[in-house]
């Protein structure tokens, strides 16, 4: 009897915790949606003002939209739509570098959205520096479609479900030893292995490799972390970099842009040639 009461108490506690969590999530979502809706409205008003040649008003509207999107992100509410819209607003305000930063963040969360890619390509066609990022083979994108099709959360979720399915199959097999169940276990185990590898690569590329975008109009890549070092070359707004190290207020970066004379200097490796130091303030981290 006592055991039964404890069980009921535990079930009730679990229901309360789950219910509270769902309710809290719903409240956060409603509040976030409200701010998001208002920010979108400001953006649309700015767009209308552009069409009617009221440029000053348009700037004010876009700036207000940016404030609202930033406020939403500051409150801990993260969504790919917010990043994308913020990128659009920054583009309208003439800061393409920042726009690329937010488009890239949006791309991480919404990898299947074609609008983000279209906007990134459009902006890149207008940038000064020519990029030299090696494109992955198309066949790889087709074979490993899930890797490019899903974001990190989705891959994680699928991996968890796959693991639970595998364990359930094993449990069944412990009690019911049939051959087809054995085959299912093999299939689930194989899928789980693939998903775990994908998850590992994705998590590593997104969290262990830091990337950034030049947000200043012009930025000098120097030989060392400080103004006292000679500038090596100059890159422009929108150029993407890989952040390798941080020292004081300087980032050591590898740039993904074409650098003149790189082929002529046989003694140096390409990586060494394209690396340098840039002020922290001139980089927007993705």
């Amino acid at each position: 009897m006592r055991r039964k009461k404890i069980l009921i108490f535990l079930v009730l506690c679990l229901a309360f915790l789950c219910g509270g969590s769902v309710l809290a999530e719903a409240l956060t979502r409603d509040s976030g949606a409200d701010t998001f809706f208002r920010a979108n409205k400001e953006y649309s008003a700015g767009q209308k003002a552009i069409a009617e040649k009221r440029e000053q008003e348009a700037v004010e509207k876009f700036e207000h939209a940016v404030q609202l999107y930033e406020k939403l992100l500051g409150s801990g509410f993260v969504n790919g739509q917010i990043y994308y819209n913020l990128g659009n607003a920054y583009y309208r305000l003439g800061t393409s570098g920042k726009a690329i930063v937010y488009y890239r963040r949006a791309e991480k969360l919404l990898p299947r959205n074609p609008d983000i890619k279209a906007n990134i390509n459009l902006l890149k066609s207008d940038f000064v520096d020519k990029e030299s990022i090696s494109q992955l083979p198309e066949i790889l994108k087709i074979v490993c479609f899930w890797y490019f099709f899903l974001n990190l959360s989705e891959i994680t979720a699928i991996t968890v479900y796959m693991y639970l399915a595998l364990m359930s199959s094993i449990l069944f097999f412990i009690f019911v030893k049939v051959q087809w169940l054995k085959n299912i276990i093999i299939v689930f185990a194989s899928c789980l292995l693939v998903m775990v590898i994908s998850l590992g690569i994705k998590a590593y590329s997104q969290h262990s490799i830091e990337r950034g975008v030049v947000i200043a109009d012009e930025s000098r890549i120097r030989y060392g972390p400080g103004e006292e070092y000679e500038p090596r070359f100059e890159i422009h707004e929108g150029a993407e970099v890989r952040i390798e190290e941080k020292k004081d207020k300087w980032y050591k970066v590898y740039v993904y842009v074409d650098v003149e004379g790189i082929r002529d200097d046989e003694d140096k490796k390409e990586t060494e040639f394209k690396t340098g130091w840039i002020p922290e303030a001139e980089i927007g981290k993705i």
Binding site: T28, V78, Q81, N85, L93, D115, S125, M167
Partner: protein
């Protein structure tokens, strides 16, 4: 002779004589009114009637004040009634009035006095009466234009007048306007109502005016306008009650239909010679004002030009003034927005048309907004006129920060393809609230949750494997099953023994206790119970590693049991309990050891 009785804008004093009829029978009465316009405080005008006109009464004085367009008009009437005594033609007037040292003279009126018609008793009085009424002279209509020749698009004022004798009761007025197919017609204000003296008789006039703008050249005829109404004539001998007056049955209605003459107009085309290049068909008289705002801008900023064309003519069709540009690349010009306002419809259509035009200077070398020209045809002077507004100075500054709003990419024009891309722009924002949720709660960011998710199934699987293995051994391995079940079985038998202590049955108690111990050892060692005896038990236990003390204790316990089973002496409960405890301890020891 045409004298307006009601002169709204009269500033001078006017005197007008009018009569209610110009043909009078001998002995009958007629009324003569001397109207003084423009002053209240005048003396009675002087008039000398012919000697054979007997003054029946008068003067009765009436005054009237009217305010039209905020201008006050005053009128004072002096009415006399005369009765002629002889036949003939007479002239009444002029009347004279001296006012503030000046002498004013009126018109004169001719009166024909005819012989009196003798009364014939058998004639229908109503019919006889109607005979005498010359309706055509009492009500008639006129259609006129202010000019017979005009240029195409020139303003012509058409005037329709309904003229009826003052005091004539008319009702159910119905006006069918003349068709103006070849014209653009614009109604000029509300109907005008005034009085007019014609041939000495005072008439009421209702005038409707329309501005016509001919759209084609050549000889054009304005067809007649038509007018219908009913005249109410009170019959002799007819009931004259207040009720009839109230219900409108106080007289007989005579339908009257009138139509005007048609008007022939000659519409001339506009001359081709000296026609300016920017002429856009505007005809009339106009002026132009231009205002530019702001005059100090940065490159690419908008300047609004407000060009106001004001004047007389067809305002709606005024063409857009032209900006005389030196280099078309200097300014980006947007189409003008227009706003038309008719300010006056009194003596013709007057108004203004405002053109709002936005221009954007494209470089900082520009210091002037170019001249603006507007051409029109003046029909009075019969020639084209061009108004040119001089260039206006402006200051164009360099835009340091390029226009922050980016709409298009500059190289959009260079894109090649079958369909030319007009502009390149980013795609619109996303606003899908359905899928709007916080993606910040990522599972991979919760290590504890992940550990729980991954470890729990593993633990469950391990437990399940263990349980299944145990179940299988219980079913397949007898020794394992006996060993696992030995303790529970022994506990059950010990419980029975304890019960026997309570019942006070020592022989049965000792027998059960000995059996329990022996069976437990057999179960634990998977031996047949019969194969274990008191003699070989110490050897067996020694072989399994049991200590000497334990074996000794067990032996004593078994001996106690044998003694209790087979001796006839009394056994105390305490002794039985001690033996039970010893057996219990031994069983627990074996459970750990074996």
């Amino acid at each position: 002779m045409l004298n307006l009785v009601s002169v709204a804008y009269a500033k001078e004093i006017k005197i007008v004589i009018s009569v209610d009829k110009t043909v009078v029978e001998v002995g009958n009465h007629f009324r003569l009114t001397i109207g003084v316009h423009g002053a209240f405080d005048t003396d009675i005008p002087l008039i000398t009637p012919p000697e054979n006109f007997i003054l029946m009464y008068g003067p009765s004085v009436s005054t009237q004040t009217s305010i039209v367009n905020n201008v006050v008009s005053v009128f004072r009437g002096f009415t006399y009634s005369f009765s002629p005594t002889e036949e003939g033609k007479f002239e009444l007037g002029p009347a004279t009035l001296e006012y503030k040292g000046k002498v004013y003279t009126s018109n004169s009126v001719k009166i024909e006095v005819v012989k009196r018609t003798p009364f014939e008793g058998d004639v229908d009085p109503g019919r006889e009466r109607s005979k005498r009424i010359d309706i055509n002279k009492r009500i008639f209509v006129e259609l006129t234009t202010d000019k017979k020749e005009a240029y195409i698009y020139e303003q012509i004022i058409e005037s329709f007048k309904l003229i009826f004798q003052k005091g004539l009761p008319i009702d159910d007025l119905d006006y069918v306007a003349a068709s103006t197919k070849s014209f653009l017609a614009e109604k000029l204000g509300e109907e005008r109502r005034y009085e007019e003296v014609r041939d000495g008789i005072l008439y009421n006039v209702i005038e409707l005016r329309t501005a016509l703008f001919p759209l084609v050249s050549g000889n054009i005829e304005i067809p007649p306008a038509k007018f219908n109404c009913n005249i109410i004539i009170r019959q002799q001998g007819y009931s004259n009650s207040i009720f009839d007056e109230f219900t409108g049955r106080g007289g007989q209605r005579y339908p009257v239909e009138r139509s005007t003459d048609s008007i022939k107009l000659k519409i001339k085309p506009l001359p081709e010679s000296d026609k300016p290049e920017d002429f856009a068909g505007t005809v009339g008289k106009f002026t132009m004002d231009v205002l530019a705002k702001p005059t100090k801008v940065k490159v690419g900023d908008p300047i609004t030009l407000s060009i106001n064309i004001r004047g007389e003519g067809n305002i709606q069709t005024i063409g857009e003034p032209v900006l005389v540009l030196g280099d078309k690349k200097d300014f980006k010009i947007y189409p003008a927005e227009t706003n038309t306002t008719i300010t006056d419809r009194g003596e013709g259509v007057r108004g203004e048309k405002l053109f709002r035009k936005v221009v954007e200077p494209q470089h900082e070398d520009i210091d002037m907004i170019p001249a603006i020209s507007f051409s029109y045809f003046d029909p009075e002077l019969e020639k084209y006129k061009t108004i040119t507004h001089d260039p206006m100075p402006i200051v164009v500054e360099h835009s340091e920060v390029e226009i922050p709003i980016r709409l298009t990419l500059d190289d959009a024009e260079n894109v090649k393809g079958q369909v030319k891309i007009l502009t390149k722009d980013i795609l619109p924002i996303m606003s899908d609230l359905y899928s709007f949720r916080n993606q910040g709660f990522a599972v991979y960011n919760k290590p504890l949750f992940l550990a729980f998710i991954f470890l729990t199934p593993i633990l469950v699987v391990i437990v399940c494997i263990y349980v299944q293995r145990h179940r299988e051994l219980l079913q397949t391995d007898v020794g394992y099953a006996r060993k696992k079940r030995a303790l529970s079985r022994a506990k059950k038998q010990l419980s029975n023994a304890r019960h026997l202590v309570q019942l006070g049955n020592p022989s049965e108690f000792y027998s059960t206790l000995a059996k329990t111990v022996m069976e437990h050892i057999a179960d634990k060692l998977n031996l047949a119970p019969a194969s274990i005896t008191s003699d070989n038990i110490s050897g067996i236990l020694k072989g399994r590693g049991a200590s000497h003390d334990v074996i000794k204790e067990l032996k004593q316990c078994l001996e106690s049991c044998d003694y209790g089973r087979f001796s006839a002496s009394q056994h105390s409960k305490d002794q039985m309990v001690r033996t039970l405890d010893t057996a219990e301890e031994f069983i627990m020891y074996l459970e750990k050891q074996l």
